[in-house]
Amino acid sequence: MALVASATSLTGPRTLVLLDNLDDADAYMDLWDDLQSRQFNVTLHDVKTPVSLSKYDQRLFDHLLILAPKMTAYPTGMNAKSVVGFVAEGGNVLVAASSELGNTIRELSREFDVEFDNRYTTVYDHFNYDQDLGKDRHDTVVVNTGTHLSTVDAIVPQKDIPGPILFRGIAHSINPSNSLLTKVLWAPQEAYSWETQDGDNESANQDPSVSGKDISLVSVMQARNNARIAFLGSTDMLTDRYFSAPAKKHGEKISPSGNRKFIEELTKWTFQEKGALDVVAVQHHKVGEEEAPAHYRIKDTMTYTISLAEYHDGEWHPFSADDVQLELIMLDPYVRKTLEQVPLDDQSTVGTFTTTLQLPDQYGVFKFAVNYKRPGLTYVESVTTVGIHPFRHDQYPRFISQAKPYYTSAASMGVGLLIFSFVYLWGGLESTVKTTKKA
């Protein structure tokens, strides 16, 4: 059955799961089932057994799931540098934490501008706790997907999640100025992060280090090489128990939890099963021609066309968007124009975006660049270098009406010469005849 390895993931099927203890694997049976049904080749590993992510500079795995929050040291053969190197080589990582998060994972997350709260802290919410799982400590938060889930549908489509999401774990915050990071799920306004209580009659007497929507529960990063990393503050939200538990908030109706679907969509995105774009073709030519010229001339009217395909559900599909932009760049952008999508039909295999524009009256080496970066989609950067020439000496207008006096004088010169020659050759003054007559 090894032949089934045609994974639906673009990166590949080889998945390594790091666990604190192999016995923990029993808690995630549904997750393994889901991954295996999507053709992932899951290898479970505890943190005490040596394991290596790459050999001879080649990745041995395509995806890494770190479900070992308590980990105090990497397995022999692995370190923070090798995980970062794994991402740099295009591997995808999913990190799940819990209140008992050790420094190893905390330091790894810092490499990606994600800061987990201190060890032994928990997200509490006395207003949105689950009445079953969070009864004793109010530490299982019921998160409403309509208001606290990212609207970036490319990552987790809001409308597909059947119910609220149950979360129990640690808070993290992301660097607000890092554009590569996207908050996917965040805490309700009333939530706060505080030391894990032992049930005594204590009071949170200082401002919480992070609270409300500043608490990221789940966030994702897409690196510049399009490798994807997901951070979850809770290992519990991945367990069978949370997958199947109904969510019941105080004073609200019981509803099925959206955890399983949420995790399915999140892992699909993280493991490159969707939201991946590719440039299929780039064409450009002068209007009325078919082929790309060796160079353009200033003020030429030309047509630029780019074809993009989107990967999801194991196949490439035509991509649709209304905000793909073309830039003409020589140091600075001279022209930026939104491309129009050619209407799709049944035969379309790619999304085609096109525009016709007049080149600027500035000659030089220009780049036709489509730099399409949107949250949740792989970054598209297509650059075509073309030369734009000035007019050649004989490409200027040949006659201008304002030079008419000059043309007339040249012509009158020529005609005058002919008339004069004619008169000189065959004409004579009558005066001789007259004088003869008189005489």
């Binding site: 949170a204 001279y334 600027p360 949107r374 009158s412 003054l429």
Partner: protein, 291 residues
């Protein structure tokens, strides 16, 4: 054994109290704004669900908040959430220390508090939250709104983030076309250039030009042919110049001119010498007559 039974007792009591106290009971809520020098700007005694409006604070003011929880349990969370009433909806959670007696209070010095208070002048909604795991139902009280003045100098700077989204379009500004003079003016000057022709023809008509009759020319066919060849070679050279001006390039032009100028040279020599002879005859004849 005694220790054990007391533990049981505590547990029973705790379960009883949590069964009884299903919600929080908070009283004696005070909210005041004090200036730096100690002068009270506003002082409100609040009772649920009354909400204060039009509360204003300078960036150096101090906001004081106190309350008393009547329950036996101490709440774990007794906090006020400030939410900015603008597009960002920033949230700031301020905690109050609750003493075992149930009394709780906090102070915010806006000059030293969370930088989110110091971006600029903004209105915040205030929500009082009381909650704890011992009591099933939390207590939420919308206290109203407060406008916090931004600092006049050195406001806090919101972390900026490059959003991945469509950018504004750029349309290239083409250089304006060269300014050209009016066609009518150039037409007028074209006519002026042609004016010498008029002068020429006028003068010639006064002189009275007489052309040799064709019959006379036909008597000297060689001369006539040479004349026609010379004249047409001149015309052809003019035509080559015209073609050079419009579409033919330099080297073919030189070839044509090479041939045509030879023809013009040879034919011109014979024609012009015959014209000179004729003229000389005429002048001699007329001078004889004058004599």
């Amino acid at each position: 054994m005694a220790k054990f039974s007391s533990l049981v007792l505590v547990a029973v009591l705790a379960s009883l109290s949590s069964a009884i106290a299903a919600s929080w009971n908070v009283n004696d809520i005070n909210l005041s704004v004090t200036a730096k020098n100690g002068a009270k700007k506003a002082d409100h005694k609040l009772e649920y669900p009354y909400a204060v409006e039009d509360l204003k604070a300078d960036n150096s003011d101090i906001l004081k908040f106190s309350f008393k929880v009547e329950n036996k349990e101490r709440p774990h969370q007794a906090m006020v959430v400030f939410q900015s009433q603008d597009e960002f909806q920033d949230e700031i959670m301020v905690a109050a220390a609750v003493k075992p007696s149930g009394k709780g209070r906090f102070e915010i010095n806006f000059a030293k508090a969370d930088p989110k208070f110091r971006y600029n002048t903004r209105k915040f909604s205030m929500t009082f939250l009381v909650g704890g795991s011992k009591v099933e139902e939390p207590f939420k009280y919308a206290l109203g709104h407060i406008e916090v003045q931004g600092p006049s100098a050195n406001p806090a700077v919101r972390p900026s983030r490059v959003a991945y989204e469509a950018l504004d379009e750029i349309h290239h500004q083409f250089r304006a076309d060269q300014k050209l003079i009016n066609r009518a003016v150039s037409g007028l000057f074209s006519l002026l250039v042609l004016a010498p022709f008029a002068a020429l023809f006028l003068l010639w008509s006064q002189l009275g030009i007489k052309f040799e009759p064709l019959k006379a020319m036909a008597q000297r066919p060689l001369e006539l042919v040479a004349g026609l060849v010379f004249f047409s070679s001149l015309a052809a050279i003019e035509f080559v110049f015209y073609s050079y001006w419009t579409h033919v390039t330099l080297f073919p032009v030189l070839q044509y001119l090479g041939v045509l100028s030879l023809v013009a040279l040879v034919s011109g020599r014979s024609v012009l010498s015959s014209v000179q002879t004729r003229r000389l005859q005429r002048t001699q004849a007329s001078s004889k007559k004058d004599l």
